[in-house]
C-alpha cells in the first residue's frame, strides 16, 4: 500500500530540479584514507622489475636445490650457495635504488608537501621492499637448507652476506651522491660483490669452512649495522627536511 502510494505520488508530481547539486556534492567532506590504505596503495608503485627479479631468484634457488644433481654432476660442497648468493647483490641493487627513486626523478619536492609526506612514502617503500626481499630470502633458505651440508644458520650467513654488503654500499653511495653517477656506482658495487663472491668461493673452498665462520659473522654484523644506519639517516633527513643533497640541484 505504502509503496503504491509512493509510486502514485511520484508519477503525479514532478520532482523539483536540484539546485546547485554540483556545488553541494563538491563541498561535501569525504572520508580521508587511513595510513593503512596509503600503505597498501604504494604496492602499485613499486616497479614490476623488482617483483620479476624476486620471483626469478626464488625460481633459480629452487632449480639449483632440486634439479641440479640430476643435470650437473660437478657438485662441490657450498657450490649451490655461492651461485645463489652471487645473484642476490642485484636484488639488493634494485631494492636500494627503488627506495631512492623520488630523488632520482626529482619528485621529492612534490612528495614532501603532501599529506602523507616523503618520509612516510620512503617508510612504506622500505617496508614493502624489505618484506618482499625477506620472503625471497626465506624461500631460498628453505630450499638450500634441504640440500646443503651446512647448518641452517651457516647457510643463512653465507647467503646473506653478499646481499647485505651490496645493500649497505648502495645505500651509502645513494645518500652521498645524486643523479646518474650514483646509479653507476651502485651497479658497479653490485657487480663487484657478485664477482668477488664467485671468485672467492670457487677458488677458496676454505672460506666456507668452520674456522672462517667468525669472520663471516663479523662482516654480517658490520653490513647489517651499516644498512640500519643508512636507513635511519635517510628517514632523519626527510623528517628534519634537510634536503641539502636531494632537493637542490
Amino acid at each position: 500500500m505504502n509503496k503504491k502510494l509512493k509510486n502514485a505520488l511520484q508519477s503525479a508530481f514532478e520532482a523539483p530540479k536540484p539546485v546547485d547539486k554540483e556545488r553541494f556534492l563538491k563541498s561535501l567532506r569525504y572520508p580521508k584514507t587511513t595510513c593503512w590504505d596509503f600503505f597498501l596503495s604504494q604496492f602499485r608503485y613499486i616497479r614490476k622489475r623488482v617483483w620479476v627479479l624476486s620471483v626469478l631468484i626464488a625460481f633459480v634457488g629452487w632449480a639449483i636445490a632440486f634439479l641440479s644433481p640430476l643435470t650437473i654432476d660437478w657438485y662441490i660442497e657450498g657450490e649451490k650457495i655461492w651461485i645463489i648468493s652471487a645473484v642476490l647483490p642485484f636484488l639488493a641493487l634494485l631494492t636500494a635504488t627503488e627506495i631512492y627513486r623520488s630523488a632520482f626523478y626529482r619528485m621529492t619536492e612534490l612528495e614532501i608537501c603532501c599529506r602523507f609526506s616523503l618520509s612516510q612514502v620512503i617508510m612504506a617503500r622500505t617496508a614493502i621492499l624489505g618484506g618482499g626481499n625477506f620472503i625471497v630470502l626465506a624461500l631460498l633458505l628453505t630450499f638450500i637448507g634441504r640440500v646443503s651440508p651446512y647448518s641452517l644458520l651457516q647457510a643463512a650467513i653465507y647467503l646473506l652476506v653478499p646481499y647485505l654488503i651490496t645493500c649497505g654500499i648502495c645505500l651509502l653511495i645513494l645518500s652521498r651522491t645524486r643523479g646518474s653517477e650514483s646509479l653507476y656506482g651502485c651497479a658497479a658495487a653490485a657487480c663487484l660483490v657478485s664477482v668477488a663472491n664467485v671468485i672467492f668461493s670457487s677458488t677458496m673452498q676454505l672460506l666456507y669452512s668452520n674456522p672462517f665462520l667468525i669472520y663471516w659473522l663479523l662482516v654480517f654484523a658490520a653490513s647489517s649495522s651499516l644498512i640500519g644506519i643508512q636507513i635511519h639517516h635517510l628517514l632523519k633527513q626527510t623528517e628534519d627536511r634537510t634536503w641539502n643533497l636531494l632537493l637542490t640541484e
Binding site: T33, F38, R47, M107, E109, I112, C113, R115, D240, L247
Partner: protein, 288 residues
C-alpha cells in the same frame, strides 16, 4: 582562515635568501614579484614545509607548517618538478592523490575533472615523457588542486603557457581566490596585474612592497616619463634613468623612463603601471 608568517628567515651559509619576512594572508590572490634570485622560491618552499626556516614561524589558523593538517590544506606547484618515467598524466594524478590521502573513486573523478580544467583530457592516457613544457606545467597546476586546497602556492605557474592557456589560467585563479589563499610568483607582470588583489614585491630576500595594485603604483606615480629623442641622446639618458621601454621611431627613439625629475624637455609625464614599478626596482641603474 589566515596564514601567518612571523619573521621568517632563511640562511644558506652566509647568504641570506629570505630576511625576516612577516606577512598575514587572507583568502584572495597574492602575486609575488621579484627578480631572479630574489628569494621567491625559497619563501614558497618554506611555506610548503619543504625547507625549514632558519628562524621564524609559519602557521595556518594556529597549525604549524610541519603538521599533517597543514599539509592536508596545502596545494603546491614547485618551480621545477620531475615524474616517474613510466607515468601517464592520469597515473601521475592518481599517484599524487594517494599521497594526499584521497580515496580511490574520488581520486579518479577529481583527476578527470582537473585534467579537463587544464585541457589535458585528451592526453590523460599519454606518457608525460611525450608532453611539451607547457603541458607539463598544466599538469603540475592540476595536481596541486587535487585535494581542494585552502592554501594554494604556485611557483611560476604561467612559465611556458601559451596565450590562450594563460588567459584560461588567469580566470581559473581569480575564481579560486574567492574562498582560499592563493599565492603565485611570476616574472610576467601582466599575469598578476589584474587578478592579484595584493601584490608583494621581493628584492634581495626582503619584502619591499605589499599592497593593492593602486597603492603600490602610487610610489612612482608622476615619475614615469615618455619622450622621443634623437639617437645621440639615448645612451646618456639610459645611463641616468631606468628605461622601461625603448623602440625606434623613424630616425628618433621612443623612450619610457622612470625618474624623479623631468629627464628632458620634450618628456611628458604619463600614468604609471605595475611593470614600470617592477622595472624601476630591478633595473641596473637603480641598483648602482
Amino acid at each position: 582562515m589566515e596564514l601567518t608568517l612571523d619573521r621568517v628567515t632563511k640562511h644558506y651559509g652566509s647568504k641570506i635568501a629570505c630576511d625576516r619576512i612577516s606577512l598575514t594572508l587572507h583568502p584572495g590572490v597574492y602575486g609575488l614579484l621579484g627578480a631572479n634570485g630574489a628569494g621567491k622560491t625559497t619563501l614558497m618552499r618554506m611555506m610548503c614545509g619543504v625547507l625549514v626556516p632558519t628562524f621564524g614561524s609559519i602557521t595556518y589558523d594556529g597549525i604549524d607548517v610541519s603538521c599533517e593538517d597543514y599539509r592536508d590544506a596545502l596545494g603546491y606547484l614547485p618551480q621545477e618538478f620531475g615524474y616517474y618515467p613510466e607515468f601517464s598524466a592520469l597515473d601521475f594524478m592518481l599517484y599524487i592523490a594517494t599521497l594526499k590521502g584521497i580515496p580511490k573513486l574520488r581520486a579518479r573523478e577529481k583527476a578527470r575533472e582537473l585534467l579537463e580544467l587544464v585541457s589535458l583530457e585528451k592526453e590523460a592516457k599519454k606518457k608525460i615523457k611525450t608532453f611539451s613544457g607547457g603541458m607539463k606545467q598544466r599538469l603540475g597546476v592540476a595536481q596541486s588542486m587535487l585535494n581542494d586546497p585552502k592554501i594554494l602556492i604556485l611557483d611560476e605557474p604561467t612559465a611556458g603557457l601559451d596565450p590562450k592557456e594563460r588567459v584560461r589560467f588567469r580566470n581559473l585563479i581569480s575564481r579560486l581566490g574567492a574562498d582560499r589563499i592563493v599565492l603565485l610568483s611570476t616574472h610576467i607582470v601582466s599575469d598578476v596585474e589584474h587578478i592579484a588583489g595584493t601584490i608583494l614585491v621581493m628584492k634581495d630576500g626582503r619584502l619591499i612592497h605589499q599592497g593593492a595594485l593602486e597603492e603600490i603604483i602610487r610610489t612612482i606615480e608622476g615619475r614615469v616619463w615618455e619622450c622621443i629623442v634623437p639617437q645621440a641622446l639615448v645612451d646618456s639618458l639610459c645611463e641616468r634613468y631606468p628605461a622601461i621601454n625603448m623602440r625606434q621611431e623613424g630616425k628618433d627613439v621612443f623612450l619610457r623612463l622612470v625618474g624623479d625629475e623631468k629627464p628632458c624637455d620634450s618628456a611628458i609625464a604619463v600614468q604609471a603601471a605595475l611593470e614600470d614599478l617592477y622595472l624601476y626596482y630591478f633595473s641596473e641603474v637603480n641598483a648602482k
